[in-house]
């Protein structure tokens, strides 16, 4: 099911009479293709969860429309939208067993949709098998581990075969190892069911690793949408560049002067045809090539060996971060002269942004 968000806006009234209204989601226009896994990504308070709640119908948009396929669902109650939602803390009913929890949505069905007991059990069993918890059906939620609870919540959301599956921070309550495993699992379940899935996260690694598309948001405004690699390789503004990637991108204050890009006194590359102005220069950690005659000169502070590659810690007066981190192959040695190391910069790992608008300057 294709999901279209049209000029979606959500404002929250201030609790004080004279206070300002808060715009959580601002004029969001997104088209989510059918059968894909989409990650809504952004720092906390960027409106990603609010967007999710509007898609499922628990929050009502201030303005704008939501379409599932060609149906306008903006005014529909949650239960009529055909959505399944997995809550951040799973919200499994503690007094019901796993089986009863999964059956619960089916038992609510009325009229033509009403199922026989056996049909319901079949459906519950199928959903449980899909998430591999069919052996835990008689346990209570508090007898399950976090990861198992997560699976039950997904089974409960899927048992009604929803048109859209929504996951609110699905991995945030899991420990690091389980997180890796569960995110693969979510990807697999999504592939097997083919259900259009939207999930919310503030962890860029999580979003990049399993999403078909990521939507980066900041303060209620969409910054960029695209497949993860594309967004990483081609950030449209400084925020997106900073938000994606571990270790994070290195940002320098620089300037364009006479068609050349400078960081400090070092001329990095030629940018013909760009007007003179102050810029921010982002260089991905993997964009550094050690070269004795390299353009960018930095003070070498430390080299952290990590086996496969090593992480070079540098300092530069123009850097906006306290230290610069470059990732280079461990068999390449970094030569220094009076403690200064020189690097050439890979052009496709270097992004230039306007210093004031933070928008990307393409060259």
């Amino acid at each position: 099911m294709k999901i279209v968000l049209q000029n979606l806006t959500k404002q929250f009234e201030s609790r004080h009479k004279k206070g300002e209204t808060v715009t959580a989601v601002n004029n969001l226009d997104i088209e989510i293709p059918d059968g894909k896994l989409i990650g809504l990504l952004g720092p906390s308070g960027c409106g990603k969860s609010t967007t999710l709640y509007m898609i499922c119908g628990l929050e009502h948009p201030t303005s704008g429309k939501i379409f599932f396929g060609d149906d306008d669902v903006t005014e529909l109650e949650p239960e009529n939208r055909g959505v399944g939602l997995v809550f951040q803390n799973y919200a499994l009913y503690p007094h019901l067993t796993v089986k009863q929890n999964i059956l619960f949505p089916l038992q609510n069905l009325k009229g033509d949709q009403k199922m026989s007991k056996n049909e319901m059990l079949d459906r519950a069993q199928t959903a449980a098998r899909l998430v591999q918890i069919d052996e835990l059906m008689d346990r209570k939620p508090n007898e399950l581990s976090g990861g198992q609870q997560q699976r039950v919540a997904i089974a409960r959301a899927l048992v009604k075969t929803p048109r859209v599956l929504l996951l609110d921070e699905p991995l945030s309550n899991l420990d690091a190892r389980l997180r890796l495993q569960t995110r693969e699992e979510i990807k697999r379940i999504q592939r097997e069911t083919g259900v259009t899935t939207v999930f919310v996260t503030h962890d860029q690694e999580e979003a990049m690793s399993i999403s078909d598309l990521i939507v980066v948001m900041k303060q209620g405004i969409m910054q960029q949408i695209g497949n993860p690699q594309e967004v990483y390789d081609n950030p449209q503004n400084l925020f997106v560049a900073k938000f994606l990637g571990t270790p994070p991108i290195n940002v320098f204050s620089g300037k364009i002067l006479g068609g050349r890009l400078y960081i400090g006194d070092d001329c990095i590359i030629d940018i013909p045809g760009e007007a003179d102005r102050d810029v921010s220069v982002g260089i991905r950690p993997e964009g550094f090539i050690p070269d004795e005659n390299g353009a960018l000169r930095c003070r070498l502070k430390n080299i952290e060996v990590m086996g496969r590659d090593c992480s070079v810690i540098l300092e530069n007066d123009a850097s906006q971060n306290p230290c610069i981190r470059a990732i280079i192959d461990s068999d390449i040695s970094v030569k220094t002269e009076n403690g200064i190391a020189s690097f050439n910069i890979k052009k496709n790992k270097l992004f230039v942004f306007d210093a004031s608008t933070e928008e990307r300057i393409y060259f």
Partner: protein, 309 residues
């Protein structure tokens, strides 16, 4: 630290509590047992230096007493009628209070007022509300309740005055107990409801759960620990009912002319004291204790099966 020394210290710290408990709780408790099993015990030595014999004469007297049977029936009925009604009402009111946001605090206060009001005073007010003032056989004025039901064309009912029936009296007492029991129950249940994670309701909403099903399948199980607490304490309170009846009917424990009609087990115990029937009073207390013990045990057994902690 040396464990003997620390033991001594522990006893020292506990001493004030233990001494007070021993004098005012343990000793009376044990003494009640002693008195109950001394035949005909009246607090004085038997004339002629005879000792009281040990036996179950007191229990026989109490159980064989016609009045006691009536009081026992009153007490049990009061519990059986008022506990379900007041608990159900309290739960409904708590759910309603929990779902409104605007004037919740105001209503919370209003519903809590009966709790801080003296029970004798409330009883007197109830009496005034249900009364009818007569001169000779002619009724002069009615209380507010008879005026209200008069609006619906119902004949005035003699609720509490001389000649009123046992059923009418029972109705008034139950009305009082339910009303008086509500605030505390509402408070406890509201606290329970406010602790229920809102996401359960969001999840139910997405699954299209009906209001009734949400109430019975989610709300009730999730506040069941509070419900169990409320039910157990109100059964215990119900079996000890006394002051409400004193409040409504005065010390006669019944309408004029049929005193004792509404009396309870605790009332019987009080009746025995001035007559120096300490043995009977103790026996009655122990019977009451046994009843409460059994009821609480049943409650505990049921809640083990039905309550979700």
């Amino acid at each position: 630290m040396d464990s003997k020394k620390s033991n001594k210290k522990a006893w020292l710290y506990l001493a004030p509590a233990i001494i007070l408990l021993a004098i005012f709780s343990f000793y009376p408790l044990l003494n009640t047992f002693r008195m109950a099993f001394l035949n005909g015990y009246n607090g004085m030595e038997v004339v002629g230096g005879e000792k009281f014999t040990i036996g179950i004469q007191n229990f026989k007297t109490v159980v064989g007493n016609v009045d006691f049977k009536q009081y026992l029936k009153n007490t049990i009925l009061l519990c059986v009628i008022t506990v379900p009604i007041s608990t159900t009402l309290a739960l409904l009111i708590a759910v309603a209070l929990n779902s409104i946001k605007a004037v919740q605090k105001v209503f919370q206060t209003v519903f809590f007022l009966p709790y801080v009001t003296n029970s004798i005073a409330i009883g007197m007010v109830f009496n005034a509300m249900f009364t009818q003032v007569r001169v000779g056989s002619l009724v002069q004025t009615y209380g507010i309740i008879n005026n209200i039901i008069g609006v619906f064309g119902i004949e005035p009912i003699n609720f509490v005055n001389s000649g009123s029936t046992w059923g009418a009296n029972m109705f008034v007492v139950c009305f009082y107990i339910v009303w008086h029991a509500l605030p505390f129950k509402i408070l406890v249940l509201l606290g329970g409801l406010q602790n229920v994670n809102k996401q359960y309701y969001d999840a139910a909403k997405i699954d299209g759960t009906s209001k009734t099903r949400t109430f019975f399948k989610i709300t009730v199980p999730l506040v069941s620990p509070m419900l169990a607490y409320v039910i157990i304490t109100s059964f215990i309170g119900g079996f000890k009912e006394y002051s409400s009846i004193v409040g409504i009917f005065g010390e006669t424990m019944g309408p004029a002319g049929s005193s004792g009609q509404m009396n309870t087990i605790v009332g019987y115990v009080y009746n025995m004291l001035p007559k120096s029937n300490l043995g009977n009073a103790s026996a009655a207390s122990l019977i009451l204790f046994a009843i409460i013990l059994v009821v609480t045990a049943i409650n505990g057994y049921v809640s083990k099966k039905k309550v979700h902690y």
